[in-house]
Structure formats: structure tokens, C-alpha cells
Symmetry: C2
Subunit: 111 residues, 2 copies
């Protein structure tokens, strides 16, 4: 099964950025184990202020399981993941019409 | 030597987006071989329209060589890479004060 690459973007609240950083620091366990168990690997999040003056987060990960929908459904149902989302969602500013991260279109890949 | 992850962002011109897509299509050789020779691996570019109404490109790659500065200097000096930049740079809209892609800060990584 080919690895599936996912790129995504979401806004982040200026007044919650230090909380966001603390939750995502290397030392914080977060839900790292649940993500890995769901086949989500090599997951990075970057932050940048764009020319519109707002702060955005850009996520990249690779899914290397065999049933993405099933793995995501199982992950969503985990109480610890739900607690994590309850903490992090209020720090984020989804794009209009989105509930969470907006998945981006890949226009290039070179292995 | 640890792999170095790089996330970056730049604007893209609406009127050049089809040209940009054509140059970056899987079938186009571009400078794929030069990037690989410079230690740049697993390079993806994503596109997304942000809430400010503008189109942006988000790049992600992994450098797995042993001397990043030297490899980038050698890459920059390649005539074919210079021709590539001469074609693609006019399609892009760098952030204020930037000459090319803006490197983003990584706030999270889970292997």
C-alpha cells in the first residue's frame, strides 16, 4: 500500500499560541501514541504569519496503514483523543465552512 | 546525521497557476534529479487559497545529506537549476522582504 501524504492548514489564535506551543512541545506526550497507532507517521506542524497579518499552522503527515477511514474513525472515538481535540480546537481558527484543518491539494512530489 | 525537515511558504500568481501546475506535474522532469543529488528528499508542494483570498504554495522536504549549506550552494550554481528558477520565480509572490520561499518554524513533530 502506497504511503498517503496529507498537507493541511488552519488558523491559530494569537492569544493561545503559547498554550498551543506548550501542548505540542517534544516533551508533551499529547496523543502521539494514538496517532502512531492510527498509522499517522512523520507528522510535523509549522507556524507562520502570512501577509494578511494572521498566524497559520501548516500540518504534514504520512498515513501508512491500510484503511484510512477506519483508522480515523477509531482515532476519533478514543476518549483521550476527544479530550485533546477539546483542548486544542478552541486555540484554532478553522477556515470558513471547515470544522477543523483544511486539507490542501498536492501539486508536486519528488521522492 | 539526523534528517532535517523544512517547511516553507510562498504566494503564487493566479494568472500563472496553470503554468506552475504543468511544470510541477509528475511527468515533468524539472530539476528532480538535481534536488535528489543535493540531498533533498520527500519533497511535496501543496496549494491552498487562504481566507485573505490569495493562493499560496506550501513546501515540505527532508534534507538527508551531511552539509546543507554546501549542497544548497552547489545546487544554486547548477545552470539547469538557474534556468528552472528563472521560469518559476516569476510565477511566485514572495512575502515582503523575502527573495524566495519563506522558511517556517516547526512547532511539532511526531515520528
Amino acid at each position: 500500500m502506497a504511503i498517503q501524504r496529507v498537507g493541511m492548514v488552519i488558523g491559530v489564535r494569537e492569544d493561545r499560541i503559547s498554550d498551543y506551543r506548550a501542548l505540542h512541545a517534544d516533551a508533551h506526550p499529547g496523543v502521539r501514541d494514538l496517532l502512531a497507532a492510527a498509522g499517522i507517521r512523520n507528522f510535523s506542524i509549522f507556524i507562520e504569519r502570512l501577509p494578511d497579518g494572521a498566524l497559520y499552522l501548516f500540518g504534514y503527515y504520512e498515513y501508512n496503514g491500510s484503511d484510512y477511514e477506519a483508522d480515523m474513525t477509531r482515532l476519533d472515538a478514543q476518549p483521550r483523543n476527544q479530550e485533546w481535540i477539546a483542548m486544542t480546537a478552541p486555540m484554532q481558527i478553522p477556515f470558513p465552512g471547515q470544522k477543523g484543518w483544511k486539507i490542501m491539494e498536492e501539486v508536486y512530489h519528488n521522492s
